[in-house]
């Protein structure tokens, strides 16, 4: 073995160890949630704690479905997030198309102005938004929530889609137009299929943003049967006696859809993020 190899292996070891520490730091809390959610009550509070449940049980999940309105919250979350995705994507796709294909006065200004709305955090817009919603008279409805998410997710989606559309060569469309296709046909048959991966990725981002939201639901929704999961789970924790097993199982179930989608779009993330959303 020459000296260079030993150097490499020391270096390799260092990398492995640091990667392992990183993995534990990020993954262990999830593992602990998973483990706790399958433990019977007495094992949850035992000291020293067991790493894995000894008596594997589904009792926590059963309590979650029986004693709380988890299913209602779940349906609400699904409905509101999906509707927000549909509206956002309809507007953002058209908007991103026009921002990349049509030349009009102030186009680039509008594009950077959209980025500028990143500065408005939810907490700043939620107060005037609430006042508006009250005036219109749709406070405490899912419609208000869907509108809020669409407004909130739009800048991000528009910006991301714009980057995707920019990467599609203009020539393709022009060829279709020369062949006598109308613009609508050119968009539907040439551009949309090419942009589909980008559109799917953006839709999933939007879904995750809406699904994860807490503040808009907290403020716009007051009746219990309209609440979504984030607020539902948070309220479980505000009970006088905290049922950790049940909360952990709820946490598990709310996380799963996000993680499934996330694994699906992961490859777009690493490759597309730097050029798309952040660098513009």
């Amino acid at each position: 073995m020459n000296p260079k190899d030993t150097f490499l292996s020391v270096r390799g070891q260092a990398i492995y160890w640091s990667a392992a520490i990183l993995l534990i730091f990020t993954a262990f809390p999830f593992f602990w949630m998973l483990s706790t959610s399958f433990k019977p009550l007495r094992e949850i509070f035992v000291s020293p704690p067991y790493l894995l449940p000894k008596d594997f049980t589904l009792a926590n999940f059963a309590r979650l479905f029986e004693q709380t309105r988890f299913l209602t919250y779940f349906k609400n979350s699904l409905f509101v997030s999906s509707s927000a995705v549909v509206f956002t994507m309809a507007i953002a796709t058209a908007g991103a198309y026009s921002l990349t294909r049509f030349k009009f006065y102030g186009r680039e200004k509008i594009a950077s102005l959209i980025l500028f709305t990143y500065m408005f955090a939810p907490i700043m817009i939620v107060i005037p938004f609430y006042v508006l919603i009250k005036k219109i008279g749709i406070a405490n409805t899912h419609l208000a929530l869907i509108m809020a998410y669409t407004a909130f997710c739009l800048p991000f989606s528009l910006w991301l889609l714009r980057a995707f559309f920019q990467s599609i060569p203009l020539v393709l469309e022009e060829a279709a137009l020369v062949d006598g296709a109308t613009r609508l046909r050119a968009v539907v048959h040439v551009i949309l299929p090419l942009a589909l991966p980008g559109i799917i990725a953006t839709a999933i981002f939007t879904f995750i943003l809406a699904w994860n939201d807490y503040i808009f639901v907290r403020i716009l929704i007051t009746s219990d049967n309209l609440k979504t999961l984030s607020v539902g789970i948070a309220d479980l924790h505000n009970a006088t006696v905290i049922d950790w097993g049940m909360i952990m199982s709820g946490g598990m179930l709310i996380t799963i859809p996000v993680l499934v989608f996330f694994i699906f779009i992961q490859r777009y993330l690493i490759a597309g993020w730097g050029t798309g959303a952040v660098k513009g």
Binding site: P49, N212, G251
Partner: protein, 227 residues
């Protein structure tokens, strides 16, 4: 007081996020078996609902049954269980949770940039006899400057206006006074004391501070090559 808590919170979380995120991105840029798997896992905390992050950590940091206290006691670092959500440590807990939840954003952005650095630059530096450290300082960092500029800007804006993480941690603690940042204060004034005027004023003040610091930041660090 809220301004002070808010500034303390954002500055410390941003510094930690950037440092940890940068190191993590450098590790994940190296070739090793299972790299894609680790890359995926590391991004998890950023993707999950904040509510989940909070309940996870509240359970880990629980003063009676929490795993963190158990481990610290077992190793002998502390003698009595710490009250992580009590007034002395709640800020520390908040910072730990926020850094955990948001550092993946830094990893994501930095990693994407790292992958586009041409390997030729490193080879040239090696030929010139540069060690690992000086390669990092003279090749990697200058290449990362633009992305770090944007990341720090975005993260500062987002941490300074962070509401849900802070608010959810204060729930049921009794020590909420000690982490009452500006966004939380604005929320409480508006929706608990029904002083929407005062709440909006606070939001406008926040916005003003953001604009002023962003302008200052651009003036200090913006390079002519742009972003």
């Amino acid at each position: 007081m809220s301004l002070w808590y808010g500034t303390y919170y954002s500055v410390s979380t941003i510094v930690l996020q950037i440092v940890i995120g940068l190191i993590a991105a450098l590790i994940l840029n190296e070739a090793f078996r299972g790299r894609n798997f680790v890359r995926g896992i590391v991004l998890f905390p950023y993707m999950i609902p904040t509510v989940v992050a909070i309940i996870l950590w509240k359970w880990l940091l629980n003063n009676q049954f929490g795993l963190v206290n158990y481990l610290l006691l077992a190793v002998g670092i502390i003698e009595n269980p710490l009250s992580w959500t009590g007034k002395d440590h709640i800020m520390t807990s908040l910072i730990i949770i926020s850094v955990w939840e948001f550092f993946p954003f830094v990893v994501l952005s930095v990693l994407a940039r790292l992958q586009t650095i041409p390997p030729v630059l490193y080879e040239a530096a090696k030929v010139d006899g540069a060690g690992a450290w000086s390669r990092f300082i003279h090749v990697t960092l200058p290449q990362l400057r633009n992305v770090l500029f944007v990341v720090i800007l975005l993260r500062s804006i987002w941490m300074f206006t962070k509401f849900d993480t802070v608010w959810l941690l204060t729930q049921g603690g009794g020590a909420e006074k000690y982490i009452r940042t500006l966004p939380v204060y604005a929320y409480m004034r508006t929706f608990m004391y029904y002083q929407a005027g005062l709440g909006s004023t606070l939001a406008v003040i926040m916005f003003g501070i953001l604009i002023a610091s962003t302008a200052l930041y651009f003036k200090m660090f913006r390079r002519e090559e742009g972003i």
